[in-house]
Amino acid sequence: MFMDGPIGRWDVDAFLWLNGQVGRSDLLDGLVELLVGDYLIPVTVALGLLALWFSGRDKATRYRYQIGVFVALSTMAFTSWAVQEISVVAERARPFLDHDVNLLFYEATDFSFPSNSVAAVFGIAAGVFGVNRKLGIAMFGLGAVLGFCRVFAGAHYPIDVIAGALIGPVIAILVYQFRKVIEPLPTWFIKTARMFHLA
């Protein structure tokens, strides 16, 4: 695969350089240890979806936001599935298995390519970006921070993160294009929630 060519060599060199910065600043290391986890940024993005659900000031805006929440959640599910399928084909080992790594993360047991968490956050961000530019950009920013931290902490190679950052938005676009296939369901759910003053 491309991992054996010049791109793969750049990928490893870039990873080793960035991960080699670990230990130079206790503050940065501590910050990365906080941000790199499976919980902080993904849960923060999910909380953004919850706030988005309630934040539309008129009915039409709120409906658009709530459809955006459905697109984002569907994207997250499809992205997770796609990443699983791609990773078993690529079979790329985690960096700490092949290199001497400064690990600020636990020794993950799944494949490295592509990054699942980065793909999920970028997928959700792309779904939200379609209905709320500011919140979408903020989520893309969080995804970028997560991607940087994953490489810095020794959990992924740069290409893993870049692939995840591409897969999520591509799936979000596909979900948005094909949303009419499942369209009655979101609208029925929103109407039912409206009946109980929750949408």
């Binding site: 240890e33 906080l34 790199v36 986890g37 499976d38 919980y39 902080l40 993904p42 849960v43 923060t44 999910a46 909380l47 953004g48 919850l50 706030a51 988005l52 659900w53 309630f54 934040s55 539309g56 000031r57 009915k59 039409a60 709120r62 409906y63 997250m76 997770s80 993360f105 636990y106 020794e107 993950a108 047991t109 699942n116 968490s117 999920a120 609208t187 029925w188 929103i190 109407k191 929630a193 409206r194 009946m195 109980f196 003053h197 929750l198 949408a199």
Partner: protein, 165 residues
Amino acid sequence: MSPFVADYLLFAFWAAIGAIQIGASIGRFDGLLFIKHNLAARALGVALTLSAIAWFFLTDDRNINDTEGGLDANMQAMGVFAGAFVAVIVTVVTSSVVNAGLGRPGPEALKTPEGLNSGPEGGLDALRKVSYLTAVRRSLPPLWHGAPTSLVRFYSGDKEASSFE
């Protein structure tokens, strides 16, 4: 349930309460707010969310693999969904108590049929003027008495669907 899972669920619930306060304050749904002043309610929401994050991440090591007591992606998503679901219930109950007097019709209004029948708008818009409990009490009985006809009209788009176009 392991202590980690219990902590995660509490974190998701606590932070979700804050997220709902932030969203409801942006949407100006006073009936859902814990504090009547809009900006103060938003500040409370931010404080709740940040305090939940600080409590969860600064009190213990949370970088745990799902094979060693952590949660896989599916369980994480279910945990957030469960926390958000309970947070919505706690929010509507608490805000109904806090805002019990919000939008209550005065004695003059109760003397006229228009005042008595001045029901809330649909959906979340009702919560701009009244508490959640008041909105449900005003809106559900007419819907219930007219069922199933009213439900068929509601879902077929006669009354509501046009606003979604």
